[in-house]
């Protein structure tokens, strides 16, 4: 019995850990909502207990005497019912007003999260990956990446949301969300991360066969780390160094890959698939489908349809030597 209770507690708590957790509260908006959620929970719990107790008493209490339609004694209790009803009404009015006021101010507070955003980025959803562009007034400082967002801790970011095909939803449970991305429209979200860490975003609107495999890696880091990352992303892609990498480079730029993918500083300039200029610096492959490492990369290149069935990356027939060379080249794009 006691062991079962411990197990149940452990299971319940396991939901509170981790990179994708709506009760994490590492972002301003998420923290506001957790506060509101706690308040609603407390008020509703109190009301639940009062009503539950009242019902239980009514069920178990023994009736004092048989029911008589008109015994001319109802005036004895009517003096108690009146004030009890008034008290009950006051309780409900006060409770609901408190909840309304609390949600109003939470909403105002969330709207003000990024009144003066330092960072502006555009996230465009595609089936089934995220295109991420950091926009600045100076076009030469624009960073283009995919399936990952880096944010400096304590700085507000304004995210412009677009979609290229169907309706998706932008959700980073630990920080904020959700907000829909609608084709032909522009929506927005505000992020204000308060704690450094690695989080996971997830498409929250069913968008097709690979909806579950459409994740987003979020890195919240110190301002210095963020500046370092940003500077490295502004660099053109690393040139192939070893002979094997050069073979991979030649394959990439002369075959199907270059028609869809972009690698800055090379002839590969496709615009319909994730930008791979600094591919190997990311945490995952194919929008959070596989952790980034050479073995997974080789597996993904060789058989995208086996790893992420339905994905728009076609399986390209290639020799084992070619796929190893490609893995070596893509693995060098830090």
């Amino acid at each position: 019995m006691r062991r079962g209770a411990v197990l149940a507690c452990a299971l319940a708590l396991s939901g509170c850990e981790g990179v994708q957790n709506a009760l994490g509260g590492q972002g301003a908006e998420s923290a506001n909502f957790i506060w509101l959620f706690t308040l609603f929970m407390a008020v509703c719990t109190v009301m639940y207990v009062i009503i539950g107790t009242g019902l239980a008493v009514a069920v178990w209490r023994r009736r004092r005497q048989a029911l008589v339609v008109d015994d001319r004694r109802h005036h004895e209790t009517s003096g108690k019912v009146g004030p009890a009803l008034a008290l009950w009404t006051i309780l409900i009015v006060v409770g609901l007003t408190a909840l309304t006021i609390a949600s109003f101010f939470t909403d105002r507070s969330n709207a003000a999260v990024a009144r003066d955003p330092r960072i502006k980025l555009t996230v465009t959803a595609n089936q089934w990956w995220w295109d991420v562009k950091y926009t600045t007034a100076d076009a030469s400082k624009t960073v283009h990446t995919a399936n990952e967002i880096h944010l400096p801790v304590g700085e507000a970011a304004e995210v412009t949301l677009k979609s290229n095909d169907v309706i998706h939803s932008f959700w980073i449970p630990n920080l904020a969300g959700k907000q829909d991305l609608i084709p032909g429209r522009t929506t927005d979200a505000q992020l204000l991360p308060r704690k450094t860490g690695l989080y996971r975003g997830q498409c929250a609107e069913f968008c097709g066969v690979d909806h579950a495999l459409m994740a987003l890696d979020i890195t919240v880091e110190s301002k210095a780390d963020f500046q370092r990352w940003y500077a490295s992303q502004l660099q053109p892609a690393a040139a192939p160094a070893s002979p094997e990498q050069r073979t991979g480079f030649a394959y990439f730029t002369s075959r199907e890959c270059a028609g869809c993918h972009n690698i800055s500083g090379t002839p590969a300039s496709g615009q319909v698939a994730p930008d791979l200029s600094h591919f190997a610096s990311r945490r995952s492959i194919a929008a959070g489908t596989l952790p980034m490492n050479d073995a997974n990369l080789h597996k993904w290149i060789g058989d995208p349809q086996g790893v992420k069935p339905g994905s728009h990356m076609p399986t390209i027939a290639m020799s084992d030597a070619d796929s190893r060379a490609l893995t070596a080249y893509l693995g060098s794009l830090r």
Binding site: R255, V272, A317
Partner: protein, 182 residues
């Protein structure tokens, strides 16, 4: 039911099932296509009594293959063919869903047009797309004018469309290149 009749029914069903193989055939990932494939001949105009050469043997792998046509449709949208040709109706570029082909409407002729480019704005996609992708695109373009059997084309377009699905597209004749009245 006699066993003879039963056997012939089974044989008939097996033949019918086999006919679906061509439609669904995928390129085997274990047999990579070579890096250099012979380029498509740009000579697709045969004036006077010129005769068309026999159909390119590679055409068979793409012409009525559902996977190739579907991939071609993706490429059509991704490579912004719709920017000029729209979804077949034509605009800045020529219409692709009618029976008029300035440079020939056979799949190898369409592939040559994509590969080499054509005067008045059609760019060459050589070195931008691989030969295989050009063939896939040609297979899709060909399907726009109803040249492809209904069992191979998609029943629903990838894009928003106000035209009937390809399974209901009218079959347009494909006159030879030199008889086109344009």
């Amino acid at each position: 039911m006699s066993s003879h009749f039963q056997n012939s029914l089974i044989a008939l069903a097996m033949v019918a099932a086999l006919s679906g193989c061509e439609r669904e055939k995928r390129q085997d990932p274990h047999y990579p296509i070579p890096k250099t494939v012979p380029t498509i001949s740009p000579d697709t105009i045969f004036p006077g009594n010129g005769k068309l050469p026999p159909l390119d043997p590679r055409a068979a792998a793409f012409e009525r293959n559902a996977a190739a046509i579907a991939e071609g449709q993706r490429l059509y949208n991704w490579m912004n063919c719709a920017g000029c040709h729209f979804h077949g109706g034509g605009g800045m570029g020529v219409a692709l869903m009618d029976g008029k082909w300035r440079y020939g409407g056979r799949i190898d002729q369409i592939a040559a047009s994509i590969m080499e480019g054509r005067p008045n704005g059609m760019p060459s996609w050589k070195n931008k797309l691989t030969d295989k992708q050009v063939w896939q695109l040609a297979a899709y373009v060909r399907s726009l004018s109803g040249q492809v059997p209904k069992d191979a084309v998609g029943a629903r377009a990838d894009e928003l469309s106000n035209t009937p699905p390809q399974t209901q597209t009218k079959r347009e004749p494909t006159p030879s290149a030199d008889s086109a009245q344009q």
